[in-house]
Symmetry: C2
Subunit: 228 residues, 2 copies
């Protein structure tokens, strides 16, 4: 489904150049559950931004279903992302002035659903992550882990083909984290959603079809579940 | 050092009342390393806000060294917090427009140090967490775990008597997290700093003198290291 070919990304700050990605080549198959692990600063979120078409590589190529994502026009790209990819950002990126329900409704509204339909879909997603009773609260009125779950609900509301989850259980206790991992696994097994998750959470390993370890912007090794 | 007596905290939103803390009573001793664990939404950050004098209890009392914190005048309170308590917030609360060095310098400047002294102390703290070479970068130019470590450096810059760390290793990989836990342990053992850390990270248990489990706003149980 996703093909990365020698993807590089550099950031330049004055005289300093940070090589965040140094030639990542990787194929990600439809319906698989792939975990990406690696030390802090190794390039996981940067790679996510590439796959999710939120940023452009400095060099190399990313295609999703054979389509070179940067080649899409801006409006097409926004629609494509909203329709097919659910994002759980590492910092959640919730809108502070909106309630949980309004935050989760946004992708559905952007996709063209009527407000009542968008709200119904958002409520369903919030209940799925155990936060239906907190729908009227703004992010500042929710715990860290509750905010994280709102971000997860938002990623699920449009029933995406690809779920990009950046450290989705970082602020969750063991049981709440395990419940979320199960949600992801069920999406992968039952609905064929391709789950790609950056994580430091070793609970993810048992549920992954493959695990990719990244170090200093390069693929260090890839293991299938059988090999773990 | 810290005495909490039947501390309650409620949040009211329209018709809904959330009882975040339901009568927490707890003594925290000088120089100990105390971990607070509990499910998402159980009240850990809320309790931190009480101990750290960032919010007031609805009922009950908090004292630090016998001083009832809410009784202090505002300017005294700000100075007390800045001088004695280092905070690592769950959402880091870094200022996006400032560099890592400027963020970490702020508490030292607020305490009255000259800018050059504040910068030197900030650089030392950044190097201590392995980020001296990234001092000129703003939070948006750092990875999630790197931002977390900047927040930790900021908490350490004034060499606090109490370190309040809310989920300080949530976004760190195993090795980076273990290195930070060691920093905290060394502060506790070598310098008598009282370390109070909310965490979902089981690596913390081996290093804690005591662990308090919180559930639905109440102390569920407390165990010493020997009892674990
Ligand atoms: N906008 C930027 N400008 C400069 N450097 C950046 C920028 N974004 C990321 N970097 C750097 O690129 C490297 C990779 O960052 P990335 O966020 O991908 O790491 P990560 O693996 O997600 O880390 P973590 O586990 O801490 O979240 C890091 O050294 C980071 O500081
Ligand atoms: N400002 C607020 N208004 C309303 N409810 C709040 C507010 N702050 C916290 N709460 C609620 O109080 C409860 C306790 O929140 P708290 O942030 O202390 O939990 P926590 O144990 O830190 O959770 P996590 O592990 O997810 O960070 C939660 O149900 C939360 O939604
Ligand atoms: Mg990251
Ligand atoms: Mg919390």
């Amino acid at each position: 489904l996703v093909h990365a070919e020698n993807v590089c990304k550099s950031f330049r700050q004055g005289d300093q150049v940070i090589q965040a990605l140094r030639g990542i080549s990787l194929d990600i198959y439809r319906g698989e559950y792939l975990s990406i692990m690696g030390p802090s600063g190794s390039g996981k979120s940067t790679l996510f931004n590439m796959i999710g078409a939120l940023d452009r590589p400095t060099a190399g190529e990313i295609t999703i279903q054979g389509v070179a994502i940067p080649a899409l026009a801006s409006r097409e790209l926004s629609y494509f992302r909203c329709r097919y990819i659910g994002y759980v950002f590492q910092s959640y990126n919730l809108i502070p002035s909106l309630s949980a329900l309004e935050n989760v409704s946004l992708p559905a509204i952007f996709l063209g659903l009527a407000p009542a339909e968008a709200q119904a879909a958002a409520m369903e997603a919030l209940e799925y992550v155990g936060l239906g009773n907190r729908h009227s609260h703004r992010p500042g009125e929710l715990s860290g882990g509750q905010q994280q779950r709102v971000a997860i609900a938002r990623a699920l509301v449009n029933k995406p083909a690809i779920l990009l989850a950046d450290e989705p259980t970082a602020n969750l206790d063991f049981n709440t984290g395990a419940a979320i991992i199960k949600v992801f696994k069920d999406l992968s097994v039952d609905r064929g959603v391709t789950v790609i998750s950056a994580t430091h959470d070793h609970k993810m390993l048992a549920n992954s079809d493959r695990v990719v370890w990244i170090k200093s912007g390069e693929v260090e090794r890839i293991r299938t579940k059988a090999e773990l």
